[in-house]
């Protein structure tokens, strides 16, 4: 019986999501949040690297997509209040 919404992502979709999340992390004007986003995506994808259960896979993938939406909105919000001077760590 097919569970609604349990679409198993293909490998290339997962890599595409990874790349998109890293790009959004790069866009953040706040160095700290940007680094956190990148670090968190790398950790999360690595932890779930060896999943084989289809339900866990599709849950993780949709979780990733939801986080991407949040991150994109936050990148815009943070850019509205960007600090005038770049963080010293950002060079």
């Amino acid at each position: 019986m097919a569970v609604p919404g349990a679409v198993v992502p293909m490998r290339i979709e997962v890599l595409h999501l990874y790349r998109t999340l890293l790009r959004v992390g790069r866009q953040f004007s706040d160095y700290n949040i940007g680094e956190y986003s990148k670090r968190r995506t790398m950790d999360a994808f690595r932890d779930n690297k060896n999943l084989t259960d289809t339900r866990l896979l599709s849950a993780a993938f949709s979780d990733g997509k939801a986080q991407l939406e949040v991150a994109k909105k936050q990148a815009i919000v943070y850019s509205l209040y960007a600090p005038k001077v770049k963080s010293i760590l950002d060079f």
């Binding site: 490998r11 290339i12 890599l15 595409h16 990874y18 790349r19 890293l22 790009r23 790069r26 790398m42 994808f45 690595r46 690297k49």
Partner: protein, 133 residues
């Protein structure tokens, strides 16, 4: 740092490299081909930018890969395959390509980035991209 170096080199370097005809395979009849090609070249300096020199690209790509945390610097040679020789997985390969994007200051679209699996491939791709800085 790399961006400053790139800008400096761009100002000091003379852009005298002719574009090889193969780069723009437009399908016009023979007579028109040369005309349109030269017309494109006339406006090209500002619009198309210049291509980076291959040995410089190789040096920069090799140094980016050597600085990558999961890579053993002694194994990095221009022929190296990210997954087979350097022991990276597909997530690491994505990260390496992102690092190359940052080094050269231009975005590599996903479908092209998927195909980059060796250092030589990355060098060829970047050297043939006018937006690379």
């Amino acid at each position: 740092m790399a961006a400053v170096r790139g800008t400096l080199l761009k100002h000091l370097r003379v852009n005298a490299t002719p574009l090889p005809l193969l780069r723009n395979p437009k399908t016009f009849p023979n007579g028109l081909f040369n005309l349109t090609f030269n017309a494109v070249r006339c406006f090209s300096d500002v619009v198309m930018g210049s291509f980076l020199d291959k040995s410089e690209v190789t040096d920069r790509v090799v140094s980016v890969v050597k600085n990558f945390q999961k890579v053993d610097p002694s194994k990095v040679i221009p022929n190296a395959h990210f997954q087979k020789d350097l022991g990276l997985d597909s997530l690491d390969t994505v990260e390496v390509v992102m690092a190359l994007e940052e080094e050269f200051g231009f975005e590599i679209p996903d479908n092209e980035a998927e195909k980059i699996s060796t250092i030589n491939h990355a060098v060829e791709f970047i050297a043939s991209h006018p937006q690379a800085k």
